[in-house]
Symmetry: C2
Subunit: 394 residues, 2 copies
């Protein structure tokens, strides 16, 4: 009883392309994600056109990155993140301010008026935690102090980026900027993160023995997956990315005594579903729109600016960890991934960007996501500095 | 950086509803699937309306049932199925002919002309392997001879149902029936199953040591998942259901020496994704359309007919295994699940069915899927008969 579905073909192509891309990347000593993103670019509309981003594929991609950040949270203890709270906060704030200010100045210099320039600048702001988290996890480096700073900063970063985008959209529409409502939105988002983080971990520490009651080795996984999907949705209700809720759910689940088994059980889920996130990220670039000298110069400038500003912002924020660790944090914050792509899509549909600027911002998001991981992997391979080791928990 | 998505809420609701429904069913000693299907009916448009079937959810559901049949194939050896080939063939053929003939006579007796009656009859034909496979797997009964007959018959059944639907659609359109092209379609489908089954298992027996070359505990899983998704798509190209290809891929993978680890690794994937299949099956029923005495009588008649004809067909086909085993096979073939739903949807869009007959066929498919599993579970709990045990492989 056949119901012919091209979507099944696309699912197969995405999965297979990710394996081939990841294998090729590994064989030239690059992180898997780089190969998977490039593979997405190759099988996507720009080159072979075997897959086309669509709503079902987007949902698979979203579930993939939600599970990835859940698994990353599972290897992260709240107490460890609290210990680096000051650095994470500084990295989050400085890493948003510098790219935003420089991005706006650059955008204004190439033409758009100030409201549009601020919109362009918003695309320079938000870090994609998924790409960096995947590299950190793949190298077994999630226990390092730099990783905890990066993950803490990613939460701050996402809250600030959400607020900034709200402001920029309001300015664009010519509407008045109500500071009062912004403060409420900010307070809700911060409150959500704090309440879920603290209350959730507190409850889980006390209640995790209940999870073994059912005597089914799968039931703890089922409970924490429900928590992950539920918090992913709730965090979108507070204006945050779904991955923030998933990361918090993972941190809560890391307090259970079934943690090791849960980490094991997450492996097949990540193996099947995260490729959809990375391949679709790559599939969104439109190479044809970049085939002019002007577009390529714009892309070069935007990419250098995106890398330099986040690197400096992250470095300054984390400088108290020592220069090497600060560099790791800076590089870790560079990938824009799907977040820049979301801003670009908003800008295109609002008529703020033209086709070329849209393609440039997508390609910039992608390039930062491809360029940063190899450097991050290289830096992580070298031994930890004494300052960083001193900050690590038992 | 939030992009509000109601789909994330639906994903959470489906997953959570499946857990609650499964738990309630277990607590009154019914198979999980029954609770999950009923939960789908409750959270679906008919009752609470928290979820609405949509393309992204359909894709998740399809991936869920594809993985389920892959896992079932993983516990099934080709040699074991070949040993029961005669019975499986008889069950497949008789189990298609009796429901089709009786369905057509019944449909004609309630009104529609012959071409339409044949279309209605097609909805009585095809067994949903997913529902029965889930019960067999959940009870650890996949090694039993009855299970191998049911799975083999499901492949035959799907090929015949595909051909029958082709014939019925052609008659409907008033087009001439070209026997020649039907023979080609049939030969292609049979050829696909035989070539993939035999060549695939032969190659895997010789080549599975290659899978450990990468020294990554996940790589055999990645290879066989790619095989599963690839064959699922290819089988739709031959007019067959995606689950037939997935089942064949599972049988091929069962020849590897990594089989035990693969079965272990499939557990989390099934836990996350099969609920989408069962819950969405339940969500498709439209209770409002059934709220008349006439519709309820029609539903009662259709359901009794669907159960009786498949039961007798399966029983007659498997009678050489002894009466108890034949009964298990008959009950195992009863669920129509998503297959009846696909035929009903085709009929509605082709203008062959009215709203009420459409709702009746959907509800019939659902009822057969809810009624059969408890009886199947009950029959499987009793000890195997000597005749059946004798047929089991080491």
């Amino acid at each position: 009883m056949g119901h012919p579905t091209t979507i099944l073909l696309e699912v197969f192509v995405i999965f297979a392309a990710a394996q081939v891309g990841g294998w090729l990347a590994r064989s030239i000593r690059l992180p898997d994600v780089v190969g998977q993103i490039v593979a997405g670019c190759v099988v996507g509309p720009s080159v072979f056109g075997w897959i086309t981003p669509s709503e079902p594929l987007d949902v698979l991609s979203e579930i993939g990155v939600v599970l990835l950040l859940f698994a990353v949270g599972l290897e992260t203890r709240l107490d460890d993140v609290k210990r680096v709270g000051g650095s994470a906060f500084a990295v989050g704030v400085i890493g948003v301010v510098i790219p935003f200010v420089c991005g706006a100045l650059w955008a204004h210099s190439i033409g758009p008026d100030w409201p549009r320039s601020l919109f362009v600048a918003a695309a320079f702001v938000a870090t994609s935690a998924g790409i960096t988290a995947s590299v950190l996890k793949g190298m077994g480096a999630l226990h390092r102090i730099e990783s905890r700073v990066i993950l803490g900063a990613a939460v701050i970063d996402d809250i600030l980026a959400m607020l900034l985008l709200g402001v920029v959209v309001a300015i664009q529409a010519g509407g008045s900027l109500r500071i009062g409502s912004l403060v409420v939105v900010a307070a809700e988002a911060v409150g959500f993160v704090l309440v879920v983080g603290w209350l959730g971990t507190w409850m889980m520490r006390r209640g995790s023995h209940w999870l073994d009651r059912a005597r089914n080795p799968m039931s703890p996984l089922l409970v924490v997956l429900a928590l992950c999907l539920g918090l992913a949705w709730v965090s979108t209700r507070f204006g945050l990315a779904a991955i923030i809720g998933a990361f918090l759910a993972g941190m809560i689940a890391s307090e259970t005594h079934q943690r090791a088994r849960l980490e094991e059980q997450m492996q097949p889920l990540l193996a099947l579903l995260t490729p959809f996130f990375f391949v679709l990220t790559g599939a969104r670039v439109e190479l044809a729109k970049l085939a002019s000298a002007e577009a390529l110069w714009l892309l070069l400038a935007a990419t250098l600016l995106a890398i330099a500003t986040k690197l400096v912002g992250g470095w300054l924020g984390a400088i108290r960890l020592g220069p090497r660790s600060a560099l790791i944090v800076g590089v870790g914050m560079v990938p824009r991934g799907e977040v820049g792509i979301v801003v670009a899509a908003l800008g295109l549909s609002a008529g703020v960007f033209g086709d070329v600027l849209y393609a440039v911002i997508i390609a910039m998001s992608l390039l930062t996501s491809i360029i940063a991981p190899p450097f991050l992997a290289l830096l992580l391979k070298q031994p930890e500095s004494p300052a960083a080791t001193a900050g690590r928990s038992g």
